[in-house]
């Protein structure tokens, strides 16, 4: 049972992956900046350190997602 063509399926993959990944890069870059600012104020706070690590990983995931979507579509 095919709802859309193979090309449509791949385009869906590109838009979902690339779109969400690009959004993550943007949103986690902002969060990372804020978290690094908070980290400078409170170096000993484990919660803040965790936010820095999480946001940095979010940026990496976003970049991996955008790159992967482009590589596998084009």
């Amino acid at each position: 049972m095919n709802l859309v063509s193979h090309d449509g399926q791949m385009l869906f993959g590109l838009l979902m992956t690339g779109g969400v990944a690009a959004y993550w890069v943007a949103i986690d870059s902002v969060r990372l900046r804020r978290a690094v600012g908070a980290f400078r104020r409170e170096r000993g706070d484990l919660a803040v350190r965790d936010r820095v690590f999480g946001s940095a990983l979010g940026v990496v995931i976003g970049v991996v997602g955008v790159a992967g979507a482009c590589i596998h579509y084009f």
Partner: protein, 211 residues
């Protein structure tokens, strides 16, 4: 004083409803209806976003709900990729490593809850991002979109995060019980995350001491 919230609440009902997408998912994969399977995974992911919003709307956030949500994430996304592996749609070695790392992480979470002495979910911002990534893994498999690339990059990142979180869950001090949303909103200092650590601890201690 905040009223005690039952575990039988709308947010947990939404979380539980995610399991209903699994039987039709297996049917779709077995029948070769990969696009239908993709839509079912999408529905599961949307319900995952929706349960948090429902919890905030009905003010029914509970520690059990947090743990239940994490378990539902693991079971739904884990089940989906295991089914895809069984049908040869995704690399089995990467999935085996993902499952092993997932079990190790669950073990450390259990250890953390024992150290805390209460039902609690270790909040890892990095793991939250990876769980969101995991929601897409099933979709890559059903769509046949960059399967090897995405599965192996996920495995590498999962390894890094599990090692990072394991150290924190096993060795770092356990913070006091979380402040409920209602108490958080009442506090003139604003949301807990924007406060200095000492202030957060003070509010948490007050909340714990409340009858």
């Amino acid at each position: 004083m905040a009223a005690k919230v039952s575990n039988l609440n709308p947010a947990n009902a939404v979380t539980a409803s995610r399991f209903l997408t699994l039987p039709p998912f297996v049917w779709a994969i077995d029948g070769g209806h990969y696009q239908v399977a993709t839509l079912l995974l999408l529905l599961c992911g949307v319900l995952d976003l929706f349960d948090g919003a429902v919890a905030r709307l009905f003010k029914c956030q509970t520690a059990f709900g947090e743990v239940f949500d994490a378990i539902a994430d693991g079971l739904c996304y884990g089940f989906a990729i295991v089914v895809l592996t069984a049908y040869g749609l995704v690399p089995w070695l990467a999935v085996t490593l993902i499952v092993i790392l997932g079990v190790i992480n669950a073990g450390f979470r259990w250890l953390y809850a024992r150290r805390a002495g209460r039902t609690t979910n270790y909040q890892s911002h990095a793991m939250e991002r990876l769980v969101a990534y995991a929601a897409f893994l099933g979709g890559f498999g059903t769509l046949g979109f960059g399967v090897d690339y995405f599965y192996w990059t996920f495995t590498g990142m999962l390894f890094v995060v599990v090692v990072h979180d394991a150290k924190r869950m096993a060795l770092d001090p356990v913070p006091p019980a979380k402040v409920t949303a209602t108490e958080d909103e009442r506090d003139p200092a604003g949301p807990a995350i924007d406060r200095p650590a000492e202030r957060r601890d003070e509010v948490a201690r007050t909340a714990e001491a409340a009858p």
